[in-house]
């Protein structure tokens, strides 16, 4: 008497279904991590609010990140720059984060900001050509002026991964925009 395939394989098939579901789940999980949940908002040493500075007070980006238009890196402002304004702003002098700032100032130290937007070491992203090409800061960094704490918003820039760069370079017809050596060397 023969034994049927599916009869014999019932438990195997069940196991397979579970395995397939687990794999699909893993894909979903991984995708969700990257695509939905991965707004990356690290805690900074000082709770500096771009919402207050860039939003309410309308300080232009390049006032502090002064090298963006001239150099590969945008640069973070020196402690001196921060203190330069805050010296005169006595009304916020007692806020805990401003106190922290002046602590740094008095200790003569730099502030160890946590990088939010970062590319791997083999990618040579240069700010200057992008700024000169008229790319808004917000295109990559998101509406920073609305953020109390800066977030890398995954819906905006897909975690700064290469497909996103390539798409823009293709759409904008950047000169040598699809040449690997433009970014990787």
């Amino acid at each position: 008497m023969s034994i049927g395939v599916f009869e014999a394989a019932r438990s195997v098939i069940k196991g397979l279904i579970i395995a397939v579901l687990a794999i699909i789940g893993a894909y979903i999980g991984h995708w969700a991590h990257g695509a939905i949940l991965n707004d990356y908002t690290p805690v900074q040493p000082i709770e500096f609010s771009h919402e207050v500075h860039a939003g309410e007070n309308e300080i232009p980006c390049e006032y502090c990140h002064s090298w963006a238009g001239r150099s590969a890196t945008a640069g973070v402002p020196s402690v001196e720059t921060c203190v330069g304004c805050h010296k005169g702003l006595t009304e916020v002098r007692d806020k805990p984060d401003v106190v922290k700032l002046f602590d740094y100032w008095e200790r003569g130290e730099g502030i160890p900001w946590v990088k939010v937007h970062d590319t791997p070491d083999f990618v040579h992203f240069r700010h200057k050509p992008h700024i000169r090409g008229g790319v808004e800061c917000q295109t990559c960094h998101g509406p920073v002026e609305e953020m109390a704490r800066v977030t890398r918003r995954v819906d905006l820039n897909e975690n700064l991964r290469m497909p996103w760069c390539i798409d823009c370079h293709t759409e904008e017809d950047v000169a040598n925009g699809r040449d690997c050596l433009t970014c990787h060397y």
Binding site: M1, S2, I3, G4, V5, F6, R178, C180
Partner: protein, 164 residues
Amino acid sequence: MTLLASFAHEDAALDAARALREKGVAGVDLYSPIPLHGAEEALGLGKSLVRVFTLLGGILGAIGGFTLCVWTATRFILPTAGRPVITLPPYLLITYESTILLGTLMTLLGFFVVARLPAWRDRTYRASSNVDRFVISVAGPGAAEAEDILRAAGAESIERESAS
């Protein structure tokens, strides 16, 4: 109801099958431990459909392989060694390989489809038919009249399996 007749000799089984066919008995099948030359003719099996699958697979593979090469090469154009983007000799090699790959896979698919595998539970199957017995099964209405023919052909034993 299915009639199962077991034979010890392949020529006897083939004779029986032939006789059944001549009588126009339907639902005849022959279980054997080895492929029997003459079974095709005895049971009226023609050329297998598998070859269509193989051909289709080959054609699909050839087109697919070449398209894959051309399509991928033109997605992100990275010229190499001064060669044109669409370079025939290497692409034909890939085409050749993919022809065989798809041909093989389609043949496998064809085999399963044509042989109707995997099979469901088969009550008429007897393990002895995979050792040294040749079993002829007659299913359905012809079973009654087949019994005599099978006995005449020299069946060792005949049993009945009620249909499930």
